[in-house]
């Protein structure tokens, strides 16, 4: 079969209309939340979605980097999808920064360590524990760190994107070899700093609490949602007639990774929960006590059902992993499930008992999903769908694994 490797994705039609409608819904709901609703709850929702969007766009970079350093060939023909994810990074980064900065300066987010008087020994609000952490948890340093994470990681994503486009034009091994180098450096920097990013952005919402697993637990969520989003995009593209070379063996492999890392995410969840529950130390229990309240207990367990049990059962058989429709379903369930996961991470420490599911939550989620889809597809349309000069391209279009 002769493949047309110069074909580009054209961003138009339904995909464009729907993502624009979703963005409008999001903007309207967020504006309504600020003007007529509860701004506090709106900020909390913005944090959930901005964090999710940032993680998802970096998941694309992580996927690329791992493919390069591992000498992997199976996914080469769909690498433009994670590469398109990385084009969302600048937007996601700016939004996350704006949300954190705005939330801090209007005293709507991170109040547990940023409320006035917490570090002043003469204030009635004085909290010695927070005061002890103030060298790390203070506004200027916190905001600088947020910017640094996104900029430093983002630079590598930008370079890698440039190299892959250069490879399209020039061929040869130079870009590929350089990509491996950049990917390796990215993996080291990302691996060492992502836990801090998660401690800052998510864990410090409840600033008294601490857990060493938290960083890797969040990284597992980033990775499994990233895999699901890549699979979902590839399936949708295939269904709309693009990516003719995306085959069931590649789908099977993506499914295996989703299955495996669903279990890995649950493993980190259980590790964290079991150890804290078992040791029963009050300082550490707070996090789970807050989620044991009637407002959250059901969601806390529902999260495990959606993020673990459902995908676990759905992706268990190899027939299901090779079935485009079922894989699509599994990817959507995992993506929605981890939104709930982040929701349960943020809400108890921000809006406490006053949580709910209404236009704030759904509007923000729909808006961000639309924005991500819009920016990602726009990025995708700016380069050919096939990295035709990638040394493993041919290997990946022939990728075949038996269904046993």
């Amino acid at each position: 079969m002769q493949l047309d490797t110069s074909k580009q994705f054209e961003f138009s039609g339904k995909a464009k209309t729907y993502s624009l409608i979703a963005i409008v819904i999001g903007v309207v709901c967020i504006a309504a939340g600020f003007i007529i609703g509860d701004p506090h709850r709106t900020w909390a929702n913005l944090l959930v979605c901005a964090y999710y969007m940032t993680c998802l766009s970096f998941a694309g970079m992580m996927f690329l980097a791992i493919q390069y350093v591992a000498n992997a060939g199976w996914a080469t023909s769909i690498l433009r999808i994670p590469s398109a994810f990385t084009t969302v990074i600048p937007f996601a980064g700016v939004i996350l920064f704006a949300v954190i900065f705005g939330g801090l300066s209007t005293h709507n987010l991170y109040e547990h360590w940023n409320a006035p008087g917490l570090t002043d020994p003469n204030s009635p609000n004085y909290d010695p524990l927070i005061d002890g952490k103030s060298a790390w948890l203070n506004v200027p340093f916190f905001v600088t760190r947020t910017a640094l994470y996104v900029i430093v990681w983002g630079l590598f994503a930008y370079m890698l994107r440039k190299l892959t486009l250069k490879e399209d034009l020039e061929g040869g091994m130079e870009s590929y070899n350089k990509s491996i180098k950049f990917s390796a450096i990215f993996c080291v920097i990302f691996g060492f700093t992502f836990p801090l990013f998660a401690f800052d952005t998510m864990m410090s919402v409840e600033a008294h609490w601490f857990s060493t697993m938290f960083g890797w637990w969040n990284l597992a969520a980033l990775w499994v949602t990233g895999l699901s989003a890549i699979a979902l995009t590839a399936i949708l593209l295939k269904e709309s007639g693009h990516l003719p070379w995306f085959n069931t063996s590649q789908l099977h492999d993506l499914g295996k990774l989703m299955f495996g890392f669903t279990i890995f995410w649950t493993y980190t969840w259980v590790g964290q929960f079991l150890l804290i529950w078992y040791a029963n130390i009050p300082e550490e229990l707070t996090y789970f006590v807050n989620r044991w309240e009637p407002e959250y207990k059901f969601l806390f367990w529902l999260d495990i059902v959606i993020c673990f049990l459902v995908p676990f059962l759905l992706l268990m058989t190899s027939d299901n992993k090779r079935n485009f429709k079922r894989m699509k379903l599994a990817a959507i369930i995992i993506l929605v499930g981890h939104w709930l996961d982040y929701y349960v991470m943020v809400m108890p420490g921000t809006v406490h008992g006053h949580r709910g599911f209404s236009y704030y939550e759904f509007g923000t989620l729909i808006g961000f999903a639309g924005l991500f889809a819009f920016l990602m597809l726009k990025g995708l349309s700016r380069a050919p769908l096939a990295p035709k000069n990638h040394p493993y391209f041919e290997e990946s279009t022939h990728h075949h694994i038996p269904n046993i």
Partner: protein, 485 residues
């Protein structure tokens, strides 16, 4: 299957199917070399030392060790965790790499799996020894009995350990033995006399029929699917032995994945130590190539860095937690009386593997050998640091103490290394140490010979090489222009 031309060969030289059989069977069919005898004598002497130390411990009781009322757990559990950890690499290579379809595992999986089994046996000896009355070891199992209230405590991670490790050991043995069947059959077909009878019994009547191979393929995949969660569970539960407690330095949530990463790290180091020697002594350089060694070095680099992230995370969170006990435990680790152990651990586990970034170093045999030993020293110290430095200064300063090992402690440790090598040397003498059948699968696509052929073929076909097209496209583009619209 199409394989990209830039992939490196997994078999060097020009061996054909028969040469593979000859090369692998040679140590089994000839009298052992001098090197083997020297190695075996040393290892066996170590084993005798172990027997004496173990017997002495059983005779006089645990007072023979250096334990005291503050440090009630020291070298015994350190060595136990060290050996269990070493075992992990075998399963990773045989199961996880099989699931990932990494065919470079084919020539190293057999010896790595054997190493796993022997390492788990060594680990098990410490469970027995530190029971004090090893003849009552069966009390660790929930067996129906008439001893009144004697029943295992299902709430204890130690009993989870019993289940995890015994299951892991059984599955590893099964996996290893099933994998051996076709190769044992090959040895059987070449043997005569008593040898033939023994190998015949061991090969379970393997016929090499298509049906046997189909069954073989599916059982391998099923067993690797079972082993993968098992191998994770083993070191996870070993970490629970510490992390479920309320002892600062032990109770930290990152322990499960961090222990697993550390285990793989030390296991690969041990595989390197063994294979670097074995490939030379057994003349297997064409199958266990420099590329294999480089790949394993990369895994050592990756897992070493993961362990490094965990160390730094622990330090950071100890400070961040604001809990004074937590903060002191780590301050004491870094700068207390056992500071040297901490810094040996840091240097050996985090800093030394970083040298693997240099291609020259990670493809150097001598350097790899040194690092593989250094890493295992570091990983021993890691467990020592976690166990002893967390215990020796507990909540009550009046009971602070130091730990000094006795001769029996040292004897048990050195002896267990002897036991390990005794088993390993017997293994390479009596069983094929490279999976012949699986290496033969590589000859057609992934050998050096196949690569050269493929290259010649490509030249002969006069396909326009990618480079030719390049000139045409770049000519129409100005410098700095991109193909983005």
């Amino acid at each position: 299957m199409h394989e990209s031309i830039i992939r490196k060969p997994l078999v060097t030289g020009t061996p054909d199917m028969h040469t593979v059989t000859e090369d692998v069977c040679r140590p089994l069919e000839n009298t052992p070399s001098k090197a083997w005898w020297i190695g075996f004598t040393l290892a066996f002497a170590g084993f005798v030392l172990w027997l004496v130390s173990f017997g002495y411990t059983a005779w006089v009781g645990l007072g023979a060790w250096g334990l005291n009322k503050t440090v009630g757990w020291a070298w015994d559990i350190t060595n136990f965790v060290w050996w269990v950890g070493i075992g992990h690499a075998g399963t990773l290579i045989s199961a996880v790499l099989l699931l990932f379809r990494q065919s470079w595992r084919n020539s190293i999986n057999r010896s790595a799996e054997a190493m796993t089994i022997f390492a788990v046996i060594c680990a098990a000896t410490y469970i027995l020894a530190h029971m004090g009355r090893p003849w009552l070891a069966y009390w660790a199992f929930p067996l129906p009995n008439q001893f009144g209230s004697l029943w295992v405590n299902f709430n204890s991670p130690l009993i989870w350990d019993v289940f995890a490790i015994s299951t892991y050991f059984s599955v590893s043995c099964l996996f290893w033995f099933v994998g051996l069947l076709p190769d044992i059959a090959t040895v059987r077909d070449r043997a005569t006399g008593v040898r033939k009878q023994v190998y015949s019994a061991l090969s379970l009547g393997w016929t090499s029929s298509a049906r046997s191979w189909i069954r073989f393929e599916s059982i391998s995949l099923i067993l690797s699917g079972i082993s993968t969660p098992l191998v994770l569970s083993v070191h996870t539960i070993v970490s629970f032995d510490f992390a479920t407690s309320v002892i600062p330095g032990w109770h930290t949530t990152i322990f499960p994945p961090y222990f697993v990463a550390g285990a793989i790290f030390s296991g690969f180091a041990m595989v390197q130590t063994l294979l670097l020697v074995a490939r030379v002594v057994l003349k297997l350089e064409n199958y266990i190539t420099l590329y294999h060694i480089e790949l394993m070095n990369i895994i050592i680099l990756v897992t070493g860095s993961i362990v490094g992230v965990a160390y730094l995370t622990e330090l950071f969170i100890a400070w961040y937690s604001g809990v004074e006990y937590e903060q002191y435990a780590f301050l004491n680790r870094v700068s207390g009386p056992y500071w040297w152990a901490y810094w040996i651990m840091m240097t050996c586990n985090v800093i030394s593997p970083q040298l693997m970034w240099f291609k020259k170093l990670r493809t150097s045999l001598v350097f790899t050998f040194i690092i593989s030993i250094v890493v295992n020293i570091g990983m021993w110290f890691e467990r020592f640091v976690i166990i002893v430095t967390s215990l020796h200064r507990d909540y009550l300063p009046s009971s602070w103490a130091m730990f000094t090992p006795t001769v029996v402690d040292v004897g048990l440790y050195v002896g267990s290394i002897g036991l390990f090598f005794t088993l390993f040397l017997l293994f390479i003498r009596f069983l094929p140490s490279v999976a012949m059948a699986e290496v033969k699968l590589l000859l057609k696509h992934s050998s050096e010979e196949a690569k050269i052929k493929a290259r010649k073929h490509e030249h002969a076909a006069h396909h326009p090489v990618q480079g030719d097209v390049v000139i045409a496209t770049t000519a129409t583009l100005k410098k700095g222009e991109s193909n983005e619209e």
